[in-house]
Amino acid sequence: MAGSTLKIQDLHVEIEGNEIIKGLDLQISGGEIHAIMGPNGTGKSTLASAIMGHPSFEITQGSVELDGEDVLEMEVDERARAGMFLAMQYPSEVTGVTTSDFLRTSINANREEGDQIPLMKFIKKMDKQMATLDMDESFSTRYLNEGFSGGEKKRNEILQLLMLEPKIAILDEVDSGLDIDALKVVSNGVNSMRSDDFGCLIITHYQRLLNYIEPDYVHVIMQGRIVKSGDAALAQRLENEGYDWIKEELGIEDERVGQSQEA
């Protein structure tokens, strides 16, 4: 089988003692694009950050495996080198470090010692991917995310995705704050990654991103769990009808985390 498989089983995640994810199962393989949708406060971004090893979140139960390897035992950088990637909703600024230097160092960190990417090859690849994303040349010499607009930060996250070519990528609300043109550009970038070797989990609040990146699977998250899964048609129905019909179907009154147990 081509590509990698990320397998999440019975995942429970806490922040400061509050359980946000409450037993979530999901499997993403190469060649598949999954979308997780859900209203605000249902645990979408927590899921993304926790899988990558964000220091604020504690995983209290369950497992995450990449091709059978225990991801939760890995350091954050080991997860990345194993082939995982997270495009962040709020990427950090790093002053004094150019986007280009950061990317080259990152690419080399993912390669064996003595097999560093040749400078010219790196520059060519970077130029090409920046063109794909319709990014101005000046990006490469600007300090990483410093003074970037919201839209520029998102493009920069996708640029990193295209440069690092992970096996499994999680995109955490890369569509938020993008106008329609930027949304198309970002979607083109993601679509250019599509192959049997690439699996992707798209976390989004809005269906419109999925008009441009067609998902194979759509999952709805409420109260820290996946409550419904389907294909691209599910996303379309959510766009047309909202989430209420799902809540009705499942007898959920408040979809947010922490609301179910008290009833």
Binding site: G53, P55, E75, V76, A80, F85, S92, V94, F102, A109
Partner: protein
């Protein structure tokens, strides 16, 4: 040869030594007077650092051996590499323990009447000029014991004189190399830029042994009206060296100086950098980086003092603290009465990489005039864990991510150095000091 100890530097010894070097009588007298003062003057008293147990006078002699040759290829590689390839060297003096080990000047200097020579030659050949400026105004002999000792025992350094209206295209570089730990180095850089001249200058202080040693450095810059100086320095003396460093500039009307100082000594260090904005419209910009590691204690003071009207004074200090090191960063912007319409700003940031290290940033604004603008910012902090998470999520190890963050943090000063090769050199020193 008999081992000399500190107070065998009596007046007779100093007199004989100075006369042997054919120094003019004004200097011999100034030395003897300074030596007498040194015996009763106190040590300097930098804010928040006690110097009681520091050894500033553990050297045995002040007169080092002359290097056997003065050819570039005979310099040790670790010294010559600081200047780059020989073919790229333009104006360079290398001194070993105060004695010339290499000297090259471009024709441009001679054509324009620029003086760039070792201080011992300068006091003989340009006695009047040196006398006019040496330890007279920007730094004075009687400030404390270490300035007095400096005047008495000065045994190395250079004199740079740029005549009126000369805009030097090629930079002037120096390498002050302490090789013999028994020889105390009292190094003096005297720089005079006459009206509307321009100069770019870069210096390196280096040593390679961890044995106990002393270095005492004074720089005096006298910036004439409308002159511009870019002054870059990389201090990288080894861990056994206790050093006292003071670099000051006194600027006339509309004169400018930009300091970019990489203060990367490994041993105990007091380092002061002061710009006196004497003339109206003068401009001083100080950028400094520091890295503290091991058990070293350092005290850094950056001062900009405005006397003139419409002056501008800027201080930017970035420090990285590791291990058990202690550093005090004092930044002082002073605007004297009469310095109307002047502007001053300072920023001090300290990045703590170890909970056992200590780093204090003390920004001070002293304003004696109403009609001015001034601002300051200071912070002491650790690496942001979310930033670290972000960088590691791209595959960078903790060490690599820290390395990038530190380089980025120090970049405002590294980037300000006026020569590309020197930037690379500073980045290397930082690299070695941080990891």
């Amino acid at each position: 040869m008999a081992v000399e100890t500190k107070w065998t530097f009596d007046s007779e010894t100093v007199k004989q030594w100075a006369e042997k070097q054919e120094e003019p009588s004004w200097l011999v007298n100034k030395r003897l007077d300074a030596l007498a003062q040194a015996e009763h003057l106190p040590l300097p008293d930098p804010d928040k650092t006690s110097l009681k147990r520091w050894k500033f006078t553990s050297f045995e002699k002040i007169d080092a051996e002359e290097p056997a040759t003065q050819s570039f290829s005979d310099l040790p590689q670790e010294v010559s590499r600081l200047a780059g390839e020989e073919s790229e060297v333009q104006n360079l003096i290398v001194q070993r323990d105060g004695k010339i080990a290499y000297h090259k000047v471009e024709q441009e200097l001679e054509d324009n009447g620029v003086i760039f020579t070792d201080i011992a030659t300068a006091v003989r050949e340009h006695s009047d000029l040196v006398e006019k400026y040496f330890m007279s105004d920007a730094v004075r002999t009687n400030e404390h014991q270490l300035t007095a000792l400096h005047t008495a025992l000065m045994n190395g350094g250079v004199f740079i004189y740029v005549p009126k209206n000369v805009e030097l295209q090629t930079p002037i570089q120096t390498i002050f190399w302490q090789d013999d730990v028994k020889t105390g180095l009292f190094n003096h850089v005297l720089m005079v830029t006459e009206a509307n001249s321009r100069l770019t200058y870069l210096e390196n202080y280096v040593s390679f042994t961890e044995e106990e040693a002393n270095v005492n450095v004074v720089t005096e810059v006298y910036g004439g009206q409308g002159s511009e100086v870019k002054y870059g320095a990389i201090d990288n003396l080894e861990s056994g060296v206790t050093s006292y460093v003071v670099r000051r500039a006194s600027l006339a009307k509309d004169a400018r100086i930009e300091w970019a100082l990489g203060q990367l000594n490994e041993g105990h260090t007091i380092s002061e950098n002061t710009t006196y904005l004497m003339g109206d419209g003068s401009y001083g910009d100080t950028k400094t980086v520091h890295v503290g590691r091991g058990k070293q204690t350092q005290n850094f003071t950056s001062d900009v003092v405005a006397y003139g009207k419409r002056t501008e004074g800027y201080i930017l200090t970035h420090g990285v603290m590791k291990d058990n090191a202690t550093s005090i960063f004092n930044g002082i912007n002073k605007i004297e009465k009469g310095g109307t319409n002047s502007h001053s700003e300072q920023t001090g940031r300290v990045l703590m990489l170890s909970s056992r290290a200590r780093g204090d940033a003390n920004p001070i604004l002293l304003i004696d005039e109403d009609d001015v603008t001034a601002g300051h910012a200071a912070s002491v902090g650790k690496i942001d864990p979310i930033q670290m998470f972000y960088m590691k999520s791209r595959g960078l190890s903790q060490t690599e991510a820290e390395r990038l963050i530190i380089h980025g943090f120090l970049e405002p000063v590294v980037g300000a150095l006026p020569i590309e090769a020197v930037k690379t050199r500073l980045a290397e020193v930082i690299e070695r000091k941080v990891y």
